[in-house]
């Protein structure tokens, strides 16, 4: 086996081992950070301490391996794919691996966040190193027994072999291995020798899911727990004046009514009674300022776009000069609505606040941050707070925010009872942390048939694009390039929504280039490839996307989709985008049924480096594309007088089975470290569909959702 050199990470500071009292070996490790010098893993498996280690591997006497997976599972499949990395380097058969949720987390989880499609990317090296180190310790134990040099040993699926035909199972040497020093400088496998990485491995929770086992926060219950239904200000910007709870308190099963801040919680013995109790509350609300509506916010965003109060995030060359010297300037405005996350599992959280400690249990993408916020809110020592994660019925960014966990903690503190806050769908949709409404104005200057300048202006609600986004394509490809942002401050809460900012920016940009190609009368693929050509060999370190990788996915998508030769009645639209470290190209195919565009198929080409688990990866890609198509087509969400107009699925439209396109996925073969998949296939989907609708109906779309804005005419010149 050819070995690759490992990085210089010191394994010794990340890993500690112990011999288990019941037999077997326990390896405790911390991803991305060193273990404290004084801590040791427990000798009793029931006492796993996730305060000191954020993950464990147990190797039993019979050779069975149990991996306590460290990351929260929101449906991206990391509970399966991260243990695959350990098992690969440990060199055990996947059939002998059991994956258990690393249940009790708390303080020391560094990257215990599911968001930004980063889990696999960041775990790629450390998880493999951990597996490889454990394997080396087992080899060292066998070599000691055989009295030979460890280099004379190899492993095969949980068995150590020496040159003389002798074998020892991992289980036979764990007792010794646990007492050995932790080796340094471990080599990792050459990707061509992978046996587990790259194979289709089913979701490790599949049996529990298809039989309806208790897994989610919504399912969590404890003895003496009360259910809490919370009445919140119905409009953003309102405060509670008075509340009459007399009709609530007479309902059988209602335990108590708890006021906290501007909210009122009804506590009851079951969920339904709590919800009924909430409906019976009679509250009066007031507001100090005018309540906001989407129409006013849209006007404010337009005013910002047309104004001159911007923060410049990137400026190359001289855009002003390029525009002044242009033969022609093309300017387009793109508009998106607010969007709710609508996780299928409504927000919920359990809290038990006592004098001794604060126990929190539920679906959360950010347990460590939430524990800190709860400690601050309740003025408690952070050491007294524990957060246990359940499986999550979707996240999409909503569960990065622990507002519901804070509510639970506050209610439990006042009520002095273990309680679980349960949102109704109406609560979930009307007390959200929404994708902000955004408008983009994109302008390009044309001189002698060439794009000489590109100016993107963003007007968004509450916050603007961040980080490296201004350095994504077409940064580096156009000499005079500028990104300016401005924001409107609203009382409507906004936050991350699957692929923040790029989820809409990609639509704007990839629609713009498509239209630009039409105006310049050049091939729309060639226009993109020519721009990428200019980025090759760039010395600008801010540019994160690879022009070669983006070019490659574009070319493969052209090939796989039969671009330009679709059969009659099928209209194709193209889009390519880089975000979350992953390069993606998509071709949407639209047909007309009764003159209405129907998205039949999306061909999706993805370069995400090594594909760890193709079965799970394709699921993410299919979901991301259909989610992108669905929200671009139907996602229509607005506020009137501070309240969301839609509150449930009877009026709010999500894409359904009969509307979902078939997604055809192609991966680029790669040895490069894996990158995220939870987000990057969503952003290109909207533009691919819009460009296909342009081909089908001649209508250029500038505003989402498409079904509502199909009549939009080309604005400006």
């Amino acid at each position: 086996m050819k070995n690759m050199t490992s990085s210089s990470l010191s394994r010794r500071s990340f890993i500690k081992t112990s011999a288990l009292a019941g037999g077997g070996m326990l390896i405790g490790f911390n991803l991305f950070q060193a273990c404290k010098p004084e801590v040791a893993p427990p000798v009793d498996i029931s006492k796993l301490n996730f305060n000191d280690f954020n993950a464990f591997i147990k190797i039993a006497d019979n050779g069975m391996v149990t991996i306590f997976s460290p990351n929260p599972e929101i449906g991206q499949g990391v509970k399966t794919s991260m243990p695959m990395l350990i098992a690969e380097e440990l060199d055990v058969s996947w059939d002998n691996v059991i994956v258990a949720q690393g249940a009790l987390d708390t303080k020391n989880f560094t990257r215990q966040v599911a968001g930004g499609s980063q889990s696999l990317r960041q775990g790629w090296e450390p998880l493999r190193q951990t597996g490889a180190t454990a394997r080396q310790m087992l080899i060292n134990a066998a070599a000691a027994k055989w009295q030979i040099d460890p280099s004379e040993c190899t492993t095969d699926n949980g068995v150590i072999l020496n040159g003389k035909g002798e074998k020892l199972g991992y289980g036979e040497v764990v007792k010794t291995a646990a007492t050995l020093e932790i080796p340094e400088n471990i080599s990792l496998k050459d990707p061509k020798d992978f046996k587990i990485i790259g194979k289709d491995i089913p979701n490790v929770d599949i049996d529990n899911i298809i039989t309806g086992k208790s897994l989610y926060g919504m399912d969590y219950k404890e003895d003496k727990m009360l259910y809490a239904s919370v009445l919140r200000p119905p409009a953003f910007g309102q405060k509670l004046d008075t509340c009459d709870d007399s009709e609530t308190k007479v309902i059988r099963g209602v335990h108590s009514v708890v006021k906290f801040g501007d909210k009122i919680a009804v506590l009851a013995k079951d969920t339904w009674t709590a919800m009924k109790g909430k409906k019976a509350l009679k509250a009066n609300w007031s507001s100090a300022s005018e309540l906001e509506s989407t129409t006013a916010i849209e006007s404010a965003l337009t005013k910002l776009l047309n104004g001159n109060k911007f923060e410049t995030l990137r400026a190359d060359g001289n855009v002003k000069k390029a525009f002044a010297e242009a033969d022609k300037v093309i300017e387009r405005v793109y508009e998106s609505p607010f969007l709710p996350h609508n996780c299928m599992e409504p927000m919920n959280f359990f809290a038990d606040v006592t004098a001794e400690k604060v126990r929190l249990v539920g679906p959360i993408q950010t347990p460590a941050g939430t524990a800190r916020r709860v400690a601050k809110l309740l003025e408690r020592d952070p050491e007294e707070i524990s957060v246990e994660m359940t499986r999550m019925g979707g996240g999409f960014g909503r569960r990065l925010y622990g507002d519901f966990a804070l509510e639970a903690a506050e209610i439990s503190k006042v009520a002095q009872k273990p309680i679980k806050v349960v949102y109704s769908r109406e609560d979930d949709m009307s007390a959200g942390i929404y994708r902000p409404a955004i408008k983009y104005k994109i302008s390009a200057s044309i001189k002698d048939g060439k794009i000489t300048g590109y100016h993107l202006k963003e007007a968004s609600v509450n916050s603007n694009m961040y980080g490296l986004i201004p350095n994504f394509f077409p940064a580096g490809a156009i000499e005079n390039y500028q990104v300016d942002v401005a924001k409107y401050q609203s009382k409507i809460t906004t936050g991350a929504w699957r692929a923040p900012y790029t989820n809409f920016l990609s639509f704007a940009e990839q629609s713009f280039f498509d239209e630009l190609a039409e105006i310049l009368e050049v091939d729309r693929i060639k226009l993109r490839l020519d721009l990428l050509e200019k980025v090759k060999g760039t010395t600008d370190e801010r540019i994160q996307y690879s022009p070669e990788r983006l070019e490659n996915v574009i070319k493969v998508a052209v090939d796989k989709s039969g671009w330009g030769s679709a059969k009659e009645g099928v209209y194709q639209g193209f889009s390519a985008y880089y975000c979350h470290n992953t390069h993606v190209a998509e071709v949407a195919e639209v047909v007309l049924e009764n003159e209405s565009p129907v998205v039949k198929k999306v061909i999706c080409v993805v370069d995400c480096g090594v594909v760890v688990n193709p079965l799970g990866a394709k699921n993410q890609i299919e979901g991301g594309v259909i989610d992108g198509v669905g929200h671009a087509m139907y996602g229509d969400f607005a506020f009137k007088d501070g309240k969301s107009i839609d509150k449930n699925f009877n009026t709010y439209r999500l894409i359904r089975a009969n509307e979902a396109p078939i997604v055809e996925t192609h991966f680029i073969d790669s040895d490069i470290a894996p990158t995220g998949l939870g987000e990057p296939t969503l952003p290109p989907a909207g533009a691919a569909v819009a460009n296909a609708i342009k081909a089908a109906k001649g209508i250029r779309l500038y505003k989402q959702p498409f079904v509502k804005n199909m009549e939009t005419k080309t604005p400006l010149g």
Binding site: I206, T211, R252, T271, E345, E426, E622, V625
Partner: protein, 153 residues
């Protein structure tokens, strides 16, 4: 408070609840059968789908007083060991992402295949359109129903 006799997954239960309590919450909070999920409460998402005398029904809209003595089947009672052909198909295709809606999807698929054991693609897509999957695992749901049909036949 009135007492209702419920027959759930072949077992009799006597439940004390207000007459307007939806069956969903009786199953989840009173009987600890949490496989049936709460998604919207207005019969729009299908997460709470159960079988009532063999027909797929939204349990969030069904008052407990209306189901006295009827045969109720939930995901927990669909098979003894998770080996109903539809569950097997769901496993083979590896359908779930977050998994929250999948019990409801499976219950809808089972009832649909009892009505139409040899459906075409468009019939499957229409039949399954009452169940929302926010992760959009729709391609796999479609494939799994197709596969389940071949297993049943």
């Amino acid at each position: 408070m009135p007492i209702y006799n419920l027959k759930v997954n072949g077992q009799s239960h006597s439940v004390e609840a207000d007459q307007d309590t939806p069956l969903l919450w009786v199953l989840r909070d009173h009987l600890d059968l949490v496989g049936t999920k709460f998604g919207c409460g207005v019969g729009q998402c299908g997460a709470c789908t159960i079988h009532l005398d063999g027909s797929a029904t939204r349990s969030c809209l069904l008052q407990v007083s209306m189901v006295d003595d009827m045969e109720i089947t939930t995901i927990e009672g669909l098979s003894k060991d998770g080996k109903h052909p539809v569950q097997e198909a769901w496993k083979e295709i590896d359908v779930p992402q977050c998994g929250y809606c999948q019990a409801g999807q499976i219950m809808s698929a089972v009832a649909f295949l009892q009505q139409n054991s040899d459906p075409n693609t468009s019939e499957i897509r229409d039949a399954m359109s009452g169940n929302i999957c926010r992760c959009a695992s729709y391609n796999r749901i479609e494939k799994a129903v197709e596969l389940a049909a071949t297993k049943i036949n």
